[in-house]
Amino acid sequence: MGGYILKRLLSAIPVLFGITVIVFLIMALIPGDPATAILGSYATPENVERLNRHLGLDRPLWQQYFVWIGNLLQGDFGRSFALNRPVLDEILDRFGATLILAGTAFLLCALLGIVAGTVSAARQYGLADKAITAAVILGISVPSFFLGMMMILLFAVKLRWLPVSGMYSMFGGGDLPDLIRHLTMPAIALSIVATGVVARLSRAAMLEVLRQDFIRTARAKGVHERRVIWSHALRAAMVSILPVLGLQAGFVLSGAVYIEIVFQWPGIGRMLVDAILRRDILLVQGGVVFVAACYVGFNIVVDVLQAWLDPRIKT
């Protein structure tokens, strides 16, 4: 197993390298001159040229890339000109909030999705199956930001159960119950689409597994049906559910952008949108690379889990 983890970690290196190349190339597409963007349109040509030289923008593209990646490897993501602070500091300040939001949403989608899909398959064509299927269709079709807004209207404005926005109360609070109260709506809104996708796939995977011969064997042994479904069948179905969970992690992580805007959540997604609107290129570059790297890392975890779950995979 240790060897397999190492192998997977090593295989992530070219992927991370590719990610930096893609991000760099996309940013190189930017029309116009970053120095002008920073200094504003009243800057003198000499000032623009000096800043260009200072930023290394007068060098060939490939040299710029290696300077950037060299700095990146030393933990220097550059400086955000709009915030006037190191990009990495800003990212790390914000990342915790996104991690709490996306992590909760991911756990919700994995748990609810798998349970709903399994119940749906076990009660195929029954009332529960029909209700879940209808909910899933609705869930995968609703824009998360719209859902978030409707939840605010209902639960915060009308019923006054939960706070409208933010991560902590302005005065007082700041403890875990306060966080949970603030987290509930955004996490649910963010997880709904992913939950639908996971439920749908889990149902299909379970139906496929329940037809297998080893399920009949379990029943012939006298294993209780509850255990046949939730242990024998689900364990086998997890082999095809796990990769989809990996994909949903990416969806939840990047879909947090919308939810952070709707709920004023101080995370990395809101930072990215603000940076894009301000054309704060280094902050966008750094943020995108950072989140993509997290996603790659998470997929390694998924692969290792997969290998642990399925002993037939050569480790």
């Binding site: 996309i26 009949r216 029943r219 024998h232 805007i261």
Partner: protein
Amino acid sequence: MSLFLRLLFRNRLAAFGAVVLAIIVVLALITPLLPLHPPNVTNTANRFLRPLSEGHLLGTDHLGRDLLSRLLHGTRLSLAVGFAAALIAAVIGATIGIVAGYAGGRTDNVTMRGVDMLMAFPYILLALAIVAALGPGLMNALIAVAVVNIPFFARNIRGVTVSIAHKEFVDAARLSGLGHGRIILTEVLPNVVPVIVIAMSTTVGWMILETAGLSFLGLGSQPPQADLGSMLGEARGALITAPHTSIVPGVMILLIVMSINLLGDGVRDALDPRLRSGALARPMAATLVDRKAPPPDKGGEGLLRIDDLRTDFRLGRRTARAVGGVTLSIRPGECLGLIGESGSGKSVTALSVMGLVASPPGVITGGAVRLDGEDLVGAPYRRLRALRGNRVAYIFQDPLSTLHPLYRIGDQLAEAIRVHHPVSRAEAWARAEKLLADVQIPNPKGRIGSYPHELSGGMRQRVGIAMALANDPDVLIADEPTTALDVTVQAQILKLLDDLRRDRGLAILFITHDFGVVAQLCDRVAVMYAGRIVEEGPTQAVLDAPAHPYTARLIACVPELGTGRRRLEAIPGLPPAVDDLPPGCAFAPRCAKAQANCRQGEIPLAGGARRVRCLYPEVTLEAAQ
């Protein structure tokens, strides 16, 4: 095409989606012709009018613009952008996929590496990065959404192309001197189109959502032009004071995406039946029973008595009589062979005993299965479960597919014990090890922690037998346990079963299609054809002088070592379909001796210890006994 549409509209949800989408598309198309307010004319005196206001059916927004008009114009824009993005992604992605799949080799390798890189991004993030580079704007949002979906198309279509590129008809085209371009256009593309359509129908909804999302963030359409996403984004500021301005565009996005998703599912199901979500029925915990009343208990000395058992497969309007009235009885310590061709109903008979026939489609429609006089057909699930694996145990055919692939064999054995006995895990493992030794697995201590795929076929079947013996059952039902094994292993397994029967006094129902196996192991044999017993008797007597013509032909199929004088004969024709049985003797169409009266009326299974269901048996039973 008409078949496709018929399939599509038989799916009510898909039809509903199609109708809703059609209404929305038509409204969007005729929007410029409708008598609406101009969408971008502001009138701050009429801000935030509620829906159903005079002259403004859906009210007005924060600048006093007519919401209905803006909604329809926004829908137009959102639909156009979504479909355009889908089309661009499909065309570029399909081109990449077809070229990579068709060219193969290094082209394929390099291209797919690039695609994998793009897929390593969470795709909303990639779209954000692209918009960040190109700058906000609806056109740029469209490009971003199209680009992030290209890898999905490229990958799917490459897979299909690879499987087509090496088919005979493509080789033939190549040999006839057609250029690569021609081959791709005339041979490959037509076969890939359904996949492209499926991929588009399942992603176009996502693309509309994604563009709406970018616009919502202010990165898509710029004011005063508004698609549904930016309408929602602008309305957010007034969410609490004027919620209708948010609800109107939001519900429209939901309707569009939902109708597209419903329709997309329908398209996928109609074009590719293998992918049908939920078309697979899952078997229930116990076979359904639909029986009027159990037949009266005639008694008898058998431990397990099957009496006039009938099991049907209900497949839509057709009903297949898999088991059509089978009566069998097994005494303790006795081995009864049940023999017949594939599809004769022997396995279904065996599985019916403990309600293990997959249901749907299986239904037990009549008869009784009595264990020690207790009728198991229609017994509550709780009772069946208590007996399964405890008093009646099964051994199945293919031990690779019948053992759980992800559990250690020790866990599977221990589970079989703990289901029926309240012992600790350690105790169960100790017993499991003993069981492995009983079935002569060498080094049981070392093997108990193995997974099934780490064992050989013979070892796996020994594990299957050990599992069946876990609770010292009274009846063992072995469903072709040696068919998947090679001959030497088969002989070992048969010897093992024979020893177990003598040592433990097991009653065995042994199902096989091989008379050679029956001769080695079974005291008595019953021959099954088209769901019914056609002959039954002591093994040696039946082998020496088969009475039913079918039995005779079946025995003639077995090669004998050393004799070599007899011709090996196949039985002409095929067994009848059990959903369309002829009247009279089911074997008559294949029988050389069949007379007119063989084809009419019920032919009884006549005789005593030896019974035969034939009007013109090969030997008279009296002579045979």
